[in-house]
Symmetry: C2
Subunit: 598 residues, 2 copies
């Protein structure tokens, strides 16, 4: 098996020596960017000057270099030059594409680095999946560091594809591509002092790396307990005072602007010079359509500037601050000895990238990637099998889906998603029954909901009901189902559910729409059942096709496969369906479909 | 040999678990400091609240804790509570006392941590000396981290007791008490691209630790070359614009207020919120008298506040900023999970410590150390021999000191120290000659100057002349002689020089005043010939005695042994004396006493 160098390979002594020689005038620069307005994110000034590049490094920033001292010289004609942006926290899986394809989309926008918490792939493919993530990240045309997913599985009420304990995480932590431990979402367990969870938080102390946090709405003593554990950041704040309290408690505050959760406007008042060094911008989860339309973390920089934040400070929140929090050596500023991750842009108030350099190399110009990369980087090697063919279904028959009507005609629990949120409600209703079985009833907007364990463990099947989708016939199904990523299918016809689920097995995962016993639209996501191998724009287009096909079946909610993907998430109230069955999240337990008469 | 835990032992998982349990209210705090005004150096606010301490850690900072939740509760009655101060760079050797005695003097002032570059001890005792430093630091009642001396020896024009190459440094760098590489003073070699020197700078990249800098007056391209090497800081700025340029180039700017070099007033305008996170306070070199009178890094905090800097920002420059630059985990702020290094003080505008806690333990109250410690910590073990008995003189006779008069009656070079600086001038004069030998001449204020190699290498002797001391009879001699720390003696009578030098051999080092063939005052510095084993106040008193005795011989400069100690420093212009002979610093070469007729 070939050894892959990690993208994040630290600099060599020879490269440093060359940068010193170029700065001192003994050797020519490889590249001279002159007549620039250099955005200094350290002192928050913009000053005229030149930047000399030697190999992957900035040799000099500011002082005069002559054209004759460089192999290539570019006159920036007074354009702005900033460090490449760093996205401090995201799940690439939300983009439905590989790291390389993600980079192809955001690097031309000036995003040269990101921290990836591959929580979804780890839940499907475990340690082998993480190895694939590290390798595929190293092949992408940007710098990608990995934060190790710390909650695999998220609960004991679901069957994930893998279990990652402290020992598994510890073994990976010394890999230079691994930046630390990703968001420790099990904040109740941390606060409750759960030993195994605290051991994960303690990995930061043991390995001198960061442990990212996730503690929505936590305050006071509980917040102190959470951060006392060693967790260093949080990106879940939605309220200004909540975020302020976290800053005061020592957390690095990540301000998130994702697709569903948009917190920038609410939290921006905290980004003042006094706390300018403790705030970083992150995207967390962005759907293909938002990435194409708005971009990645560059979107936050533009929005912050539009909201009145000084450009130097806005850029700093997406570069220097994040680099320092994570301890990224020689990254995040335009300064001598730093990696030449650079963005040229015209309008200091606008941040629209023209030229983008990474490690001294021009990687994008006018929105188009200039560097060659392998979009399926990492797939060819042996370990790719660990993430391919991940949909291992049981032999399913229509009989498996049958749900006997409750005795005594009692009410049943039904899941109702809340519009524009990932919350669900539990509604109770008298089911429609035929031939002794509960059936879907489009006239009452009640669909059948099925969760099939697909990791080849035991093939357990959970069945329930969902209301509010609007579906009138056929079925929709997908293998993106947070966080266990089993198959989730919703539909009117059990036959169509079966057709859609079986097609997912053939595709190795994705999204499928079936009607009248036939597949009418599909998006294959063969990598762990989560990612496509196609470019982002193609995936976005196919996603619109399956959404349109679902709408043709009557589905009336805007992003039905996203809604579906959260119906199985047993950590957010109220009612969910996993392969264990219906989960009452507040009670933290599996509950029967039928409500027991009290 | 007993294994010493380093002071800096990282926290244990059990301690973290207990802090979490205390914050969450499951276990009582060991200590509750309530009714405090908490100085939050992260957000630069002072807010009322309580601090709960569990073992060495802060469990909670800010939220309410009840008295019943703590084993011990202290009502601070609205007094201020800040993090313990951190001195980012100093040479304990300048205090002439051990780390424990240094701590005894400054810990009651609120200084709970420091970064020690034991450059002087390393020049005498090398690797074994550094091992002693690490051990003796671990026994001190404060947190002491070591920055490895990177220039041992400083030049090839002197004989030091040891040579520390890249390999020796690399072997020590993974010790948790070692914070990184100390000031890389050989900035000309860095800028010139000297391979061995760049290899030292590269240790920071190799070991993920910092490399401190030292580049007085360097600017422009040369400055870029210096910092491109990987050096991360500088503490040698004397001018505002010089310091601003270093900040812009990415350096962590250490503002120094030592005994001789006082830069705080000049550089303080840079300490604004915009650059508030990139500036740290350091003392570098403080003499016993200044430590007793003004204090350590607490002196800079008071002076900054007096000059109008917000107390939160002044304290931050001596805590949080320095902790972050060095990557000191869980240090430098009053926040949950941080080590309980805390200072109670009454007046936010004054910073005069009342109670001082370190790792959760009360170590000082009202200026007096409360904790027991071994002032000679580290001496008892086997390695102490490496720093004791370090004065290994050749057999000296009066004949060794004789200097034949130059032929042709040519002029000779004479060293003239510049008042209140460590610069010297070369003056040329006709020597006074008797019986064919050059002799001292008190009427012309010309004394004999002798440097004797004392590391037991070869016993080489350099002889020269010095003017400007005012000495009229007898001799003074010492084993503190930057950076090689050979014996330096100045006097009128060769017999008294011999008496003083021989006494240094018996004492194992120190300062001696001799007259009429007798020792009339002495301060023993038996640890590496540099440090006393006595408390700071005693050493300061003895130092005044030897200064007074020197004054009795006519010596008219204020701190004659300090002046003497710099007469052998071959890196600062113009003329110096080492065991190699007279060194023309600008020429970088040994020169003869007699000026060649041109």
């Amino acid at each position: 098996m070939p050894q892959h160098d990690s993208t994040q390979a630290t600099v060599t002594q020879q490269q440093v020596a060359r940068a010193v020689a170029v700065a001192a005038g003994r050797e020519p620069a490889d590249l001279l960017l002159r007549n620039a307005r250099i955005v200094n994110v350290i002192t928050m000034e913009t000053c005229p000057g030149s930047v000399a590049v030697a190999g992957p490094l900035i040799a000099g920033a500011g002082p005069a270099f002559n054209d004759s001292e460089a192999i290539t010289s570019v006159d920036l004609e007074g354009r702005a030059l900033s460090p490449g942006l760093i996205d401090g926290h995201l799940h690439i899986e939300s983009s439905l594409v590989t790291p390389a394809a993600y980079a192809e989309a955001v690097a031309p926008r000036g995003v040269t680095s990101l921290i990836w918490d591959p929580h979804e792939i780890a839940n499907v493919s475990g340690d082998a999946g993480l190895q694939w993530c590290i390798r595929s990240a190293s092949g992408a045309p940007m710098n990608i560091w990995i934060g190790l997913p710390s909650c695999v599985p998220s609960t004991t009420l679901e069957t994930a594809g893998a279990v990652l304990g402290v020992d598994e995480l510890a073994r990976l932590l010394d890999n230079p591509a691994v930046i630390g431990v990703g968001e420790l979402m099990s904040y109740p367990a941390v606060i409750a002092g759960d030993r195994a969870t605290l051991a994960k938080a303690f990995l930061g102390d043991r390995h001198r790396k960061v442990v990212d946090g996730h503690c929505p709405g936590i305050t006071g003593r509980a917040l102190n307990a959470y951060f006392a554990s060693g967790v260093g950041s949080d990106h879940e704040s939605t309220e200004l005072e909540e975020a302020r309290e976290k800053l005061r408690a020592g957390a690095f505050l990540m301000i998130r602007e994702g697709s569903a959760t948009r917190n920038l406007a609410a939290l921006l008042p905290l980004l003042t010079p006094a706390t300018a060094d403790r705030i970083g911008f992150v995207t967390d989860d962005r759907l293909p359509t938002d990435l194409l339309r708005e971009g990645g973390v560059d979107d936050l920089v533009r929005k912050a500037i539009t909201a009145g934040v000084a450009p130097e400070l806005a850029i700093r929140a997406a570069s220097w601050n994040t680099a320092r929090y994570f301890g990224l050596a020689r990254r995040g500023a335009v300064a001598p000895g730093y990696f030449a991750d650079l963005v040229v842009f015209s309008d200091l108030e606008g941040f629209r990238a023209l030229d983008v350099y990474r490690n001294g190399e021009l990687i994008a110009r006018n929105g188009v990637l200039q560097t060659r990369f392998d979009p399926q980087s990492g797939d060819a090697d042996a370990a790719a099998s660990a993430v391919m063919n991940s949909v291992k279904l049981p032999d399913l028959t229509i009989e498996h889906l049958r749900t006997p009507a409750p005795v005594k005609e009692s009410e049943v629990r039904c899941i109702q998603p809340v519009a524009n949120q990932i919350l669900t409600r539990e509604v109770r209703l008298k089911p429609t029954v035929r031939d002794g079985s509960i059936i879907a009833d489009p006239d009452r907007d009640i669909a059948r909901l099925v969760c099939v364990e697909r990791h080849g463990k035991h093939g357990r099947i959970g069945v329930g009901l969902v209301t509010g989708l609007g579906i009138r016939r056929g079925a929709i199904a997908g293998t993106v189902a947070h966080d266990h990523h089993n198959v989730l299918a919703a539909g009117i016809s059990d036959h169509d559910i079966l057709t859609a689920v079986r097609r997912l097995g053939e595709l190795g995962g994705g999204f499928v729409v079936a009607a009248d016993g036939t597949v009418i639209a599909e998006l294959a996501l063969p990598i762990a059942g989560l990612l496509s191998q196609r470019p982002l724009a193609e995936v976005e287009s196919l996603m619109r096709d399956v959404d349109r096909a679902a709408a043709g079946l009557g589905v009336s909610i805007p992003a039905p496969f996203m809604t579906l993907s959260f119906l199985g998430l047993p950590v957010i109230p109220e009612l969910r369906l996993t392969d264990h069955g219906l989960v009452d999240v507040c009670a933290g337990a599996v509950v029967p479909l039928a409500v027991e008469p009290s």
